[in-house]
């Protein structure tokens, strides 16, 4: 007869094996290994058929960093990050502070501002492609009202990126606002009451109590915003498809046009690896500096 203890132990190992295997297998095969393979393939010139044989060392990377369009896409990604961090997030925080209090209709505004986030990015971008259309859209109507010839912003090298940034702002400020509101609701009522008793007005309370207590939440939204910005693709495709003259590519749309569509596995993988390294760099920096004084499991 087996002891109950042995049974329990066996049951535990069965559980671990049965419960972990599906997720571990799929995750390893379709997430972890492809990333390793991308690093390996990036040293080859290869069209994906047969085995990769033509080893080219760092040639793919060399070409990449001499390529005007890629450098531009890298810059565009950094513009997007900068605008997200320094304009979009503070704005979302401001709105969150405005409607988190006992404001009448707060729930209504919250829902409206969050609405764009749930739309598909493709749909969002198509709506805005219409709005920006110089013949038909809202921009055309507004210009027409003043009797001016409407510009085609998406076809204009100087304005296309700005137009994309506006769409990003429109779509994503709501989720950051929502994250901040959730963080604000977690601040204990007693602290806020005490501040009120001490005669602190809404602005003092915001700067002295709410924002400092919101720091962990802000860190999280910064992180999400960074990773999201680096992976931008869907919004660009319907709006400009990277044009005019390839000035509005993001790194991912560059990867799609110059790696995937031409089936250049080695070169495309090199682009992927650069994106990965930037993300990794940010993640490590985030762990080191921003997460330093937090508990584990904050994420």
């Amino acid at each position: 007869m087996r002891s109950a203890k042995l049974d329990a132990l066996l049951s535990r190992y069965y559980t671990i094996i049965i419960f972990l295997i599906p997720a571990l297998t799929i995750f390893t095969l379709f997430v972890v290994l492809p990333i390793g393979e991308a690093a390996y393939y990036s040293f080859f010139r290869w069209n994906g058929y047969g085995a990769p044989e033509k080893f080219v060392g760092f040639k793919n990377y060399e070409f990449l960093f001499k390529n005007r369009v890629f450098i531009l896409s890298l810059k565009n990604n950094f513009y997007i990050i900068a605008i997200s961090l320094f304009v979009q997030l503070p704005f979302a925080l401001l709105i969150a502070l405005m409607i988190s209090d006992k404001l009448r209709g707060a729930a209504f505004f919250r829902t409206i501002f969050f609405l764009p986030f749930i739309l598909a990015e493709i749909v969002t971008a198509l709506i805005w492609a219409y709005i920006y259309d110089g013949n038909y859209g809202l921009v055309a109507a507004i210009w027409g009202f003043f009797g001016a010839e409407a510009p085609f912003v998406l076809g204009d090298k100087d304005w296309a990126l700005v137009a994309i940034l506006i769409v990003i702002f429109w779509k994503f400020f709501g989720i950051h606002m929502m994250i901040y509101i959730a963080g604000l609701q977690a601040i204990s009522k007693e602290v806020l009451e005490a501040a009120k008793v001490d005669g602190a007005g809404p602005i003092t309370t915001a700067f002295r109590i709410k924002i400092p207590m919101l720091i962990p939440t802000i860190k999280l939204s910064v992180f999400l915003s960074l990773l999201g910005s680096l992976q931008l693709f869907d919004i660009i495709m319907p709006l400009t498809g990277g044009g005019p003259s390839n000035v509005t590519h993001s790194m991912v749309s560059y990867l799609y046009y110059f790696g995937v569509m031409r089936m250049k596995v080695g070169f495309g993988s090199a682009v992927g690896v650069v994106i990965f390294l930037i993300c990794l760099f940010i993640a490590i920096g985030y762990q080191r500096t921003l997460m330093r004084d937090d508990n584990e499991n904050k994420f």
Binding site: S11, Y14, T15, I16, I18, F19, L20, P22, A23, I26, F27, L29, F30, V31, V32, P34, E37, Y41, G48, I95, M98, G105, F109, I112, F113, L115, P116, I118, L119, I122, V123, L126, I127, Y130, D133, Y136, L138, A140, W170, I179, I181, T217, L220, S221, L230, Q231, F233, M237, M251, V252, L255, V260, V265, G268, S269, G272, C279, A283, N295, F299
Partner: protein, 274 residues
């Protein structure tokens, strides 16, 4: 007096912003009802001459329904497996003590930081070499793989907060881990099951890049791919395109209003819960 003045400005800003959000949606839905000529002259107002052809021609278009159906298959398939596999994994992480527990949990966490784009070309090759191209699995399996990380975090957090007493009592009664998972954990976890399902469903439903890479066969197109093809065909025939956009917009908005609670909980839950 001063407070009223401030509130007045507050509302002014908020209503202005709400307008900026709503007007683009409104002009899109209305645009679907307008003639091309009217779109040119009257983009903001209600249609003067209501035109239903754009909407009707889509509603009787079999491709339109096919693409919606394909997306449904991708979304439901992905969600079913993500919920099952992620909850099983999180159950082990939350309840079973073993040496590699923390290590394996971090292994999945690390996956969250990996940008999907890095892996697309090798991922495509793997899917091709497994002979999955031309099937729905070409979309579903990679989506499961990339959906696991975040779902495991959400499940684990929830499972750990469940009272330990139920678990101990059940184990004493001779209940195995697997029985416990099906009989107690899952039935007691409806809020988190709903949250993970809703997030996974919407993520899959709106996904564009992955199906774009994996699917060549037009009979397997997802609706975002369909809408882009449509855009290519009717480039400036905005009435048609806006009708298509609106027909996908309306269910999304309805879905959001019905399940707002779970969507918000899922997206902000990881942010503020310890």
């Amino acid at each position: 007096m001063k407070t009223n003045f401030r509130t007045y400005y507050l509302y002014l800003i908020l209503f202005f912003l709400a307008g900026v959000i709503i007007i683009p949606l409104y002009v899109s839905v209305m645009g679907g009802f307008k003639h091309t000529g009217e779109l040119r002259t009257n983009s903001l107002g209600l249609p003067i001459d209501w035109k239903f052809e754009n909407y009707i021609s889509l509603l009787v278009n079999s491709d339109f329904w096919l693409f919606l159906w394909n997306s449904t298959v991708y979304a439901v398939g992905t969600t079913f497996f993500v919920v099952l596999f992620a909850s099983m994994t999180a159950f082990v992480f939350a309840h079973v003590k073993f040496a590699a527990n923390k290590f394996l949990y971090n292994y999945f966490l690390l996956g969250l930081m990996f940008p999907f784009a890095t892996a697309i070309l090798p991922l495509f090759l793997r899917v091709r070499d497994f002979g999955l191209l031309g099937t729905s699995w070409a979309v579903i399996i990679p989506q499961i793989a990339f959906g696991l990380g975040f779902s495991i975090i959400l499940f684990r957090g929830f499972f750990r907060q469940m009272p330990k007493e139920i678990f101990e009592a059940a184990v004493c009664d001779g209940c195995s881990y697997i029985q416990f998972y099906f009989r107690f954990t899952l039935p007691l976890s409806t809020p988190i099951l709903a949250t993970v399902s809703v997030i996974t469903l919407t993520g899959s439903w709106n996904n564009y890049l992955l199906p774009l890479i994996m699917i060549n066969d037009e009979s397997l197109y997802s609706w975002p791919m369909g809408i882009m093809v449509f855009r290519g065909e009717y480039f400036t025939d905005w009435g048609k395109i806006l009708a298509y956009v609106s027909l996908t917009l309306v269910p999304a908005v309805a879905f959001f209003f019905a399940l707002q609670k779970y969507i918000v909980a899922g997206l902000t839950g990881g942010a503020v819960k310890e």
